[in-house]
Every structure is written in structure tokens, then in C-alpha cells.
Amino acid sequence: MTRKQRRLTLIGSGLAVLAIAVGLILGALRQSIVFFNSPSDILEQHVSAGSRIRVGGLVQTGSIERSPDLNIRFEVTDGKSSIPVAYHGIVPDLFREGQGVVIEGKMGPGGVFQADTVLAKHDERYMPKEVVEALKKSGRWQEGEAASK
């Protein structure tokens, strides 16, 4: 092969791999991204059952109900509206009433959110950013709130 042909082979195979990667990325983005919503968004937009979403907000005071076999129900609120959540498993250490949480899962039948992941804050000083956003949207956020906690 001449120098030119070799270079063309090299560039060609490079572009081919790149094209495959771009195809994979686009396909994966369509299938696997998860949208983030606040409880108000969900109630207003009627998120279709079955699609994976993330919800951020505070655990409604007085809403936690634990039943045997590690089933837990609680409500997540952004101060304006709240949605009921069902979860099976062990909740994280900082999961408490009035605390910020981010949950991931699907909207189930009967308007109960079926969570398969519950994330709480790593540190008592900081709110998850998603929760802050949700509270800001509903107008229940005061600057400096997280710091004074």
C-alpha cells in the first residue's frame, strides 16, 4: 500500500469507530436517560405510568408509615403539592421526616410512586441540588436555609 492508502485506511477506520460510538450514544440517550421532576410537575403534567423519573423534595412530616417486611410508605412534598411513595428495602441513614430526598422509580397505578432508589443527603449541611430546585420552583425556598440547618 502507498502512504496515501495507509493514511486513508487509518482515517477510515477511525471514522467508522467514531460513527458507531455516536450511534450508540444517541441510541442510549433515547433509551436510558431519566428526567427529573418536582412533585408539582408530576401532578400538573400527569407523567405517564411506566417511564422512569426522578423526584426531589422533602419527606412530609408525619407521613412515614412502616409496615412489616421492610415496606415503607411516605409522601414527598415541595411545599405546594405532595405525592405518595412506596418503597421496599432499607432507607438511607439521613432519611427522616422533613429531610430532603431524591427518589427514582416509576409512577404506579393509583398515583402511588413506586421508588426503587431512595437517596438522602450525604451531609446534614447541604441539600441535594435537585431538592433545592424543586423547592425554589414552588417558592418555598429561602436562601441560606440549608446553611442554617
Binding site: 458507531i20 442510549a28 436510558s32 436517560i33 451531609d123 446534614e124
Partner: protein, 659 residues
Amino acid sequence: MIPELGHYALVLALALALVQSVAPIVGVRTRDDALMRLGSSTALVQFGFVAFAFAALVTSYLTSDFSVANVYENSHSLMPTIYKFTSTWGNHEGSMLLWVLILSLFGALVAAFGINLPATLKANVLAVQAWIASAFYLFILFTSNPFLRLANPPFEGRALNPVLQDPGLAIHPPFLYLGYVGFSIAFSFAAAALIEGRIDAAWARFVRPWILVAWMALTLGIAMGSYWAYYELGWGGWWFWDPVENASLMPWLAGTALLHSAVVMEKRNALKIWTILLAVLTFSLSLIGTFLVRSGVLTSVHAFANDPTRGIFILVILVVFIGGALGLFAWRAPLLKQGGLFAPISREGALVLNNLFLTTACLTVLVGTLYPIALEALTGEKISVGAPFFNLTFGPVFIPLLLAMPFGPLLAWKRGDIYGVAQRLMAAGALAILAVAIVLVAQYGRATLAPFGIGLAVFVMGGAVSDMVERTGVFRLPGATARARARGLPRSVWGTAAAHFGIGLTLLGIVCVTHWSDEKIVELKPGESTIVRHYHLTFEGIVPRQGPNYRDQIAKFTVRSGGAVVGEMMPSKRTFVARDMTTTESALMTRGVSQLYISIGDARSDGSIAVRIYYKPLVLLIWLGAVVMAFGGGLSLSDRRLRVGAPKPAARAAMQPAE
């Protein structure tokens, strides 16, 4: 007094760095030897000053000087000494100080050990290194000063985030930073080569040890971070595709590609422009990683504080350095002379393939990490990109790379014989097919992908072994001859085989843990038992324990296997008094390279607790593989060629002026 001295030392280091940014380059232009040599002295003294500043902050921490705001925020007088020490970098300001400490250390190492370097190259390298250092000294002094005092010193500190009070954290960030910052040397060498407008095989030989050191440190740093997340966060996962993890994976992928392309450049004087570009990109990705973690763009354990001015400052550094370097590249790269020719089927060809797949894999990670941030900035829509995305993109790109990996080292330079190599890989291939068949039969209908994952891992490991068998002739030649050949082989050859074998080990661990982990979530009352795999676990009850700065509620478990007690496991809920914060301390029991893993939930009023039990088969191989990879890097680094450096006359002769 001590914090003020530390602050002052940092200002002096900045002053020296500013001198070093200009003087050596002027020296090169005016052919003034004294000015060129000045860079070495300033680099050494600069390191001295930064080390002093760092020592000052460490002293403030060890003496619990709460008049220093940073110490008050992150330390507590009751914390064990080791955590007082590691708190130094368990916060934003301190970790940036560690960053520049390592940066100045590398500068000093180049000054001290770069004796063989051509004087002009060394001067330019040290100048570029000083530009980076100046930018980060300014960043620390203006936005993240760790030495700020409080007007009314409190009596007690607020303590380090309990999640970070762990031995894993003591060593994970320094190693990670050694890796990140180590690539700055490759960046400086690349920029220096572009400034000089010439480059040759000797350049690659000079820069390769630095790439190796950075790569080894980053490999170990990532592995330690992953192990820490595995046992500390209590979810039993070892990789979450968290943006912060991705931030360290991207420089690793690019750095691995750089390591390989530098070999081609050293041996065959080819891929020169590409290697320069990769060196620039690798450090750029390290900077992007620092930006992502330090700017507060992300929420995670690593994002210590959200101060917008810091984010903007780092963003400016990022744009100036990445943009500047790429601009320099576009302007000067055409001056560099094209390298040697090679056929597509050859060692060079295999290494090009390696680079192609590694950079593409890096691209998929980059897109997955930045896309949510970009989308939120542009449309305000918030999304999260998680493991499914990376499994669909990163996986398919990595599999062909691993399949091709055993072929590379067996191919000859310039023009290789693919059939000959395939013959030599027959044993490894047969072993792999056998492994696939056995697992397929044993797991029929249960795991569809796992058998092929196991087969791939066996092929990768078998390939590395075949390579060494081939080179030493251990089965073909008399024992004494084979031993003599083994001794005669360059260490770098052994290093390559070890590192490739390590990849196979990690893959084996990943496949086994992904497909054959057992997870059980149950509620147990004292005295009750549960069975996971072939282990019988009895919950004995809860015992309290008082630690130095925490209270533990330990859940005692007795583990039996086949009727015999094999040990006790004691996961706990740990309440840290200073922050009134509880963490879950999981318990691990290592059996061979597999692990039993328990983490507990809150205790109920009737004495029962929620328990999450995992059995993780061969899980330790994931990190053991990384250690073997780093060991391979170390072997390669100890190679005589790299240690002694190029013989001077030969190196000079190889220098070729730009056209």
C-alpha cells in the same frame, strides 16, 4: 503565627512561579544559559515553599487550632489523630493545597532528575509547569485561602464529615491527585515541544516515565476510591458512574492511550502529532475533572462547598489552558515532521487500534457526564444519565478492545503476521472457549452474557501468559535457556504482560460480581437466622460501643458454613456526636477473594433490625486486578532503558530540526 507563615510561603511560591513562567523562555530565546537554568532552581525552592505551607496547615489541624476557619469547619478535638491529619485534604481549600503541593513536587522532580534533558526542552517544560502552578496559586490565594482566621475562635470544631472519616480517604485523594497532576508533566512536555517546533523519539523516552508514574497513581487512586465507596456507602456497589467517578476515569482512559502511543513514538518515531494531542487532552481531562468536582456544578460527597466565584475561576483556568494548548497545537503541529510508515497489521497498527477504542470509550464517558450539565444550562431541563447509558455505550466499545488486546504484544513492529499470532494464541483461545462452554452448561438459561464475559477474561489473561511463554520459550527450550531468556527480557515486556493480565483479573471480578452476587434484605429479631448462598447467619443482638468521637450500635452476627462457625461480623450504626449524624458501617468477611457483606438499617422498637446481606463472589479481583496493573506499570518503570535514559550522543543524533 504558623498559619500566617503558611500563607506567606504560598505567596512567595506564587512569586517564584511567576518568575519561572517567564525567565526560562526568555533564556531559550536569547540563548542565555543562566536564565534557562534559573527554572530548575525556582522549581526546587517553589516546592520547598508549598511544602512549608502544607506543613503549616497540617500543624494547625494536628494542634486543633480552631482560630483557623478551615480547621474549625472540618476538625474536632476528639477526632483520632489520623483523621485530624487527613482532614487537611478532606475539604475544598485543603485539597486544593494538596493539588498544588503535588504540582510543585512534580516540577521539582523534573528539575532534579531531568539531567539528561536537552537544556532548552527542560527550560520550556519548567516554564509551562510554572504557568499551571501560577494559575492555581492565584486560585487558592483569591478564592480558597485555607489560612483564614476567625475573629472569635470557638472552643470546638464542627468535625469532618463522618463519611470521610475512614482510612480509605487517607490515601485515596493523594493518589488520585498524583495521577491527575502527574499528567501535567506530559502536558508541559507537549507544550514545550510545540513551542520548540520539533519533536523526536527521544522526547517520548523522556516523557514516558512521567506518564507511567501518573498512570500508576491514578490506577491505584481510582481502585481505592471504588473500594471505599463499596464498603463505606453501604450499597454494595463498586462503581456508580457518578460524574465524580467519571471525572477520574476519563483521564485514566486518555492516559492509558497516551502511554501506548508514546511507545509507538519512542520505538518507531511515528504517531508524533497524535501523541502530542493526547498529552494535551489527558491533562485537559484532569482539569475538567478538577472543575467538575471543585466548582459545585455537581452534588456529591466530593463537592465540599458551592461558591460560584470558585467555579468561574476554575472555568477560566480551564478555558485558558485547554484553549491555549489546542490553539498552540493548531498553530505549531504542522511544523512537526511526519513519522515512519507501518502496515495496518503490525504492532503499531494494534496500538493505533488501542488508541482508537480508548479515546472513543473516553468520548462516551465524556458525553454521558457533560450532557446533563449542558442540557440543564441550555434548556433548564434536568435529567440524570446513569449506569444503563454507560452499559450501552462504554461496554460495546471496550469489548473489541479487550478482544484485540492479546494480539498486540505478539505482533511484530512494522509488518506483522496475524496468522502466526493467532496460532500462538491458540492455547489461550481454546481455554477461553472451554470456559465459555463450562459456564454455559452450568448456568444454562440463567445468565446469557456472563459466560462470554468469563471467556473474554480468560482470553485476556491467557493471552498475557502466552506472550511470556512465547518470549521465554519455557515449554520449547531447556529450562536453563528459558530462564536465561526470561532474565534477558526487558522489564517493560514483563510490565506489559502483568498490566494486561491485571485487566483480565478485573474483568473476571466484574463479570462474577455482576452476574452471581446474591442479595437478601430481611428483618431479623435477635436469635433469628437467615441463609445466603452457603452461609448461615445468626443475628445475636445489638451491643453498644463507645468510640473516640462516636457511639456505635453494633449488630453481632455469627456466620456458619456447613455447621462450623467461620467467624463473627459486626456491622454498625455509628452516631457522630459532633454533627449528630449517623453513618452505616458495613461489615465484610473475606473468604478467598469473595466477600460476605452486611449492612444494617435502623433498629425497631421490638429489637428487630433490617439487614441487607450480600454475597459477592470474586469481588476482590476487581481491585486486585488494578493493583496488578499498577505493579506492571512499576515493572515497566524500573526498566533499565527508562532509568538510565537515552545515551546522550544517540539522542542528539536523533534530533531533527523542524522543516
